[in-house]
């Protein structure tokens, strides 16, 4: 069981001092319940089937026979964000796609985690400099928990990223269950693009 403190994810704000509720302060019962609940949560991290580009093929390879995500309880890819715990942003996020990524993240039920898979998602990858239409890092739109570098990362690397997410789950406290507050601040602001006509319906 990964018990050591996570250092793969971004720093998260400690809410213990801000929380006035004495019930959620740590005590013996709460921590034991915490441990049990966290164990179940880290044992069943369901990913969202959400592929963008090349990395998505490696994500499929990870789900497939040779690497088999299912061994670690993550072999239940959910097509709908409502039932998923983990969003693997696999592939280049373009500016046209960024609002959809954000919306999908918002539609997921807490507690939710994000893996940024591949160079493009982390910082634009090979398209950082001349890719005018490429979002330079998905962490400008949604908060990212674990970064998995590579172009694309090998399935083993993605599995390592999954273990980092499991560590995050395991080390969480009941007191910071509201992860929406505990998330790292996103760099860029975000608004929906204002559109004059209904999207997708060409004139």
């Amino acid at each position: 069981m990964p018990l050591k403190k996570n250092n793969g994810g971004p720093p998260r704000q400690d809410l213990e001092n801000e929380n006035p509720d004495p019930l959620t302060k740590e005590n013996v019962i709460i921590t034991s319940v915490d441990k049990a609940l966290n164990w179940t949560r880290q044992a069943s991290v369901w990913p969202l089937t959400f592929g963008l580009a090349c990395c998505a093929i490696e994500m499929m390879a990870t789900l497939a026979a040779k690497y088999d995500f299912d061994r670690f309880g993550s072999g239940v890819p959910r097509a709908t964000p409502r039932q998923a715990d983990l969003m693997i942003v696999a592939g280049t996020v373009s500016h046209k796609m960024a609002p959809r990524v954000k919306r999908l993240f918002d539609q997921m039920a807490d507690p939710k985690y994000v893996i940024a898979m591949g160079g493009c998602v982390i910082k634009g990858g090979p398209y950082a400099k001349y890719g005018y239409h490429v979002l330079q890092g998905v962490d400008r739109v949604i908060p990212v928990d674990v970064y998995v570098p590579g172009c694309p990362p090998r399935p083993e690397a993605l599995l390592e990223g999954l273990f980092k997410v499991k560590e995050l789950c395991y080390n969480e406290k009941l007191s910071d269950r509201d992860r929406s507050k505990a998330r790292p601040k996103v760099f860029g602001g975000f608004e929906w693009p204002t559109k004059t006509k209904k999207e997708g319906q060409s004139a």
Binding site: S94, H95, K96, A98, P99, I122, K123, G124, A128, K129, Y132, H133, L135, Q136, G137, R140, V141, Y147, P149, F187, G188, G189, F190, E191, W192, P193, T194, K195, E199, S202, A203
Partner: protein
Amino acid sequence: MESSAIFAALKTKFGEAAIDLNEDGPEAFAMVPSELIPDVCQHLRDAPEFDCDLFSCLTGVDLKGLKGETDDGFEVIYNIESTGKAHCVSLRTRVAREKPEIPSVSSIWETADWHERESFDLLGIVFTGHPNLVRILCADDWIGYPLRKDYEFPTEYHGIVCEFEGNEDGTWGGHPG
């Protein structure tokens, strides 16, 4: 049919002056004035000796700043092929930068529809008579034509900073930390 024979036939049909040939480079092509493009294309598709039914590719090229080029407009290249007769034709035309307008050939080949939208999207070449000339690849509210040589990269798009952040020492890449 050899490309020289095709070009000879085109010359006799549309007049010596209208069509300029270039057969020296890696690819032989016929330079056609932009207003003649639909007629030439229609003829290439319908005439039984040409039978050019497959529209392979449409490329727009920004000529601004190209070495040895006085024109700063756009060049549009049509690569057309006949599946039955297995010959290829390459047509080129040029338009001015101030008024980049070419009659559309989307009514002749369905394929040209998306290709012309793409050239409009990335280079700002307007294909007159196109049924639905809107952006295809970039976001609908994208500003500028990215493949133009004088395109300025955006600094911000809907609140998201787009400027390229290299590392502090000017290199490019590395771990996000």
